[in-house]
Symmetry: C2
């Protein structure tokens, strides 16, 4: 960062921020540099390197030397302690109670990890409404849509909202040999019926970008010769629009109510705490990204939602934000095998750089700094 | 047993046998005296006490004193080492390889347990074809059919056959946010669809005594945000008739073949080793039990299959065998709460005693000892 002409700091939670020495409106560009335990080389890190490369190359060109690009490498996007720690801190969002006492897999608290890294007592870096006119983040897609569509760049329209529900079934555990079918209160059978009904009904209500997943099922006690007395499943659904998430949640309510009315099994469900609201990306920034993509790869880009969460959804609550995707080979991510074609890695950076310049030239001229709503 | 005039022995596996000193054809009566870890006071033990009480009371009555009743208390019906150890040994059925090396929950082998009990080296007790004209076993029902029907005695027609299948689904694990529905290979979704299809189709093919259970489901890796790449379920079905079990198994084959042809998930299934063949109880012995039940409880008895396994299914392969059930309160068994009304316990013993006398009088007169087929 120092070589790129930035004033670099590591803040009190571990965010690495490189601030341009140019005055006036600045564009913030970045991503996260952590990944999952068996994650690949691009997830997050690629977006940080893009930002650094753009800051460096703009500084080397006389025509762009005066533009201000600040670079961010957010800490703990993936949630080793809790998700979006760095970007939430940067935006001064309220932290959970006792946030510094959250422990990681090694049992060490976040406060201990920060102290061990010698960041304790440092000031948090903060978004500067008087300076930052927008936030851009590039990322690998982590899915197979660009590849399937034969496109090289995705301009993100929305980051999907996520709702998780734990659905619990209470019946009566009994002997699988001596209990006739009409006398059974089989919690597992009720789970299968409801899961099937959800799959069928959600398919009718889904948009092109709706996804739903039953990732966990448990039958108690789980033995071949015992009728399950209790059962549990986790249903997750995602959509770019809160309105459709509301509709799907209302449908879940009505399917559970119908099953409760029809059967002898008590079915209850509760939203898990880790839901996320759907977040729209800024339209003006999308326009700049799209024009830049068309210039570098005519016909080779598309608009698309992000099915995964990103720091941009935190920043978007505070400053105009947008995202650019490059294709993931085979849709693979969070895996050592994660990769992107070298040409696509280069193209993504060129598109982001071009958009960055046009945004800074246009917005610095027309808009006041801070949140445009 | 000695007080009841029987010659009592404990054999080389732990069967306790009380042999009548009366010569000629004898009826063997008994059950098992083990139960499950949290089992109740009647399971198995009641049938042993019935046999002992019948041997004792017949010996006290001048009219029945010459009849021969041998009493059996089988070891390990429940399978602490392996199911039906005692009755299989008594019938000289082939043992599994290295049967004495099978270990129990405490890690001790069966051979060590037998040695610790000081039974090692004793001869096994054996069925005597020249003496034993039949086998009778009384047991608690362990289900709720008698109670639901308002009956006090069940005369068992068949012991159901059991088939267990492990069904495995192989898809592709992926990100639950970034993988659109059409690109998914969701092993859990395929499991839900097949489980639902099995439930629907089996209901159409079931007889009054058919039961089927999905007691275990597992999705891998089992996280809310990950599309399951693998899934597994265990399907068990039971029926008194092998022909219907064959039909259900053929239906499972065809449902799996259809699902494999339709989808992108590889589905494979295999029969678990612990299947049991359906076993018919002897018709003549059922007739004697029914007549005795009608005498003691007019209109208060019924014919019914046994949904659970019993030593009688082993004996039935070698000697005419039949079973009598008394009601389980609330259908509960294998639980400390297991119980039967005292009147019903007494009635069951009276019916079995009456049937025992009529069988010994009629069969000793008309049939040669040994297997009548």
């Amino acid at each position: 960062m120092a070589e790129a002409g930035l004033d670099a700091t590591i803040d009190g939670v571990g965010n690495v921020i490189g601030r341009s020495r140019n005055p006036g409106s600045a564009l913030l560009i970045g991503s996260h540099s952590d990944t999952q335990p068996t994650g690949g080389w691009l997830d997050g890190a690629m977006g940080v390197i893009y930002a650094l490369e753009i800051a460096r190359s703009l500084g080397e060109d006389g025509e762009t030397r005066a533009l201000a690009v600040d670079v961010a490498s957010w800490i703990d996007e993936e949630g080793a302690y809790f998700s979006f720690l760095g970007s939430k801190s940067f935006c001064a969002e309220p932290m959970p109670d006792a946030w510094a006492q959250v422990t990681g897999r090694d049992g060490r608290s976040l406060a201990e990890a920060i102290a061990a890294a010698e960041f304790a007592g440092r000031a948090p870096a903060r978004l500067d409404p008087a300076r930052h006119i927008g936030y851009l983040e590039a990322h690998i897609e982590q899915g197979g849509r660009l590849e399937a569509a034969g496109k090289r760049i995705g301009v993100v329209t929305n980051i999907v909202g996520i709702r998780n529900f734990i659905i619990a079934f209470k019946g009566a555990q009994n002997h699988a040999g001596t209990t006739p079918m009409p006398l059974r209160r089989d919690a597992g059978a009720a789970l299968i019926d409801l899961a099937y009904a959800i799959r069928a009904r959600f398919a009718e209500l889904a948009g092109a970008d709706t996804v739903w997943t039953i990732g966990h099922i448990e039958l108690h006690p789980g033995a071949p010769s015992i009728i399950p007395g209790r059962a549990e499943m986790v249903l997750q659904f995602r959509d770019p629009a809160e309105s459709r998430l509301d509709l799907l949640e209302a449908t879940l309510h009505s399917l559970v109510a119908a099953a409760n009315a029809a059967g002898h099994i008590e079915i209850a469900f509760a939203a898990a705490k880790d839901g996320v609201a759907a977040t729209a990306m800024d339209g003006e920034l999308q326009r700049h990204l799209g024009i830049a993509a068309e210039a570098h790869a005519p016909g080779g880009w598309m608009l698309m939602p992000s099915g995964a969460g990103h720091d941009a959804q935190i920043l978007a609550r505070h400053v105009p934000s947008a995202m650019l995707f490059v294709p993931s080979i085979g849709g693979i991510s969070h895996d050592f095998a994660e990769d992107t074609a070298e040409d696509d890695v280069v193209l993504g950076c060129q598109v982001l750089a071009t958009a960055c310049v046009s945004i800074l030239r246009e917005l610095a001229r027309t808009a006041p700094a801070g949140r445009r709503v």
